[in-house]
Subunit: 180 residues, 2 copies
Amino acid sequence: MSPPDPTDLDPETEARAGPRAQGRPPFGQAVGFLLSQLGFETSRRFGDLMSEVGLEPRHFAVLRAIEAMEGSAQNTVSDRLRVPASSMVAIIDHLEQLRVVERRLHPTDRRSRTLHLTPHGKEVLDRAVDLAMGLESTLNAGLSVDQRRELIEMLSRVADNLGLTAGLHPANARDGEAPP
Amino acid sequence: MSPPDPTDLDPETEARAGPRAQGRPPFGQAVGFLLSQLGFETSRRFGDLMSEVGLEPRHFAVLRAIEAMEGSAQNTVSDRLRVPASSMVAIIDHLEQLRVVERRLHPTDRRSRTLHLTPHGKEVLDRAVDLAMGLESTLNAGLSVDQRRELIEMLSRVADNLGLTAGLHPANARDGEAPP
DNA sequence: TATTGTTATACTCTATAACTATA
DNA sequence: TATAGTTATAGAGTATAACAATA
């Protein structure tokens, strides 16, 4: 093995800030970097939690929407969440296999399917919500109630700056104009 | 076309909060949801910006590291950023094709390659940094200097709660123990 | 003709592990 | 034997568009 590369940085000095050249802004402490980093890790942990109840984040989102829009047509839900129709098929297939959602015949339009949460689906959703609240507690640890409120206010402001629609996650959403 | 689904929610009432059932917490305003949503959109916009200079976010991260660790071996950089070695090959290939980075022979270890930023690479990095700072300004619009500082402090606290290493983005990093 | 839901296909992405050459 | 870099391969994920039934 060759000797340590003499150009290596001192780990104790630089480790916490990440590689950074003289004269460059500290990207590791920029709002954009922090949001990207935190969003990625938060999503990863959320995915891990949801897998405990057999779901992925997208299934959770659709399940919540179905509870809120009980009996709506499949395309109504996919339009609301801006999920592509073909992706929606796979999502509902999965939820049906778990027996948490049922497709039923639409009373007047035979092309259409209405979506319904089963009693078991309600239980699974309760459990998923508990898991999500646990993650929320982890994130908020050490923040006072006032700090958390301020944090949410500022993040909401940033979301406005980006033109995001509240409550609509862009990960699975089609591009295009926001709903009117 | 069939008449509007009678279970549809009133768009004007519910659009900003997203689908939500009675008795459920307002996920759309939770820290976790906001971070996930903002992180996704911030990353998407950052990727769009980097494409203006022919880069993807990972290339930007590696380019910054090479500037900070000029002349280090390829595996030193990939270890620092926790990028898998085989991914690093494709990243450096791309940076070399853009003539922003050069591989050179290691002076003592003929298996190894040292990485060097070209003068043109410095220019490209300058431009990429400008683009990133523009996004940072967009994100911070409407926040006072004090508010931005508080926001960064609180986000850093949340990052600590998640055990994240400052400046190290988990998107391209292998799993495993953090550097000592 | 247009729309709902479905299926099939083609594409991207990337991680794993095999391989070469050196140490 | 172990390591640096490279290459090959296989799997997951996803969007696109074609399709069948119905409006």
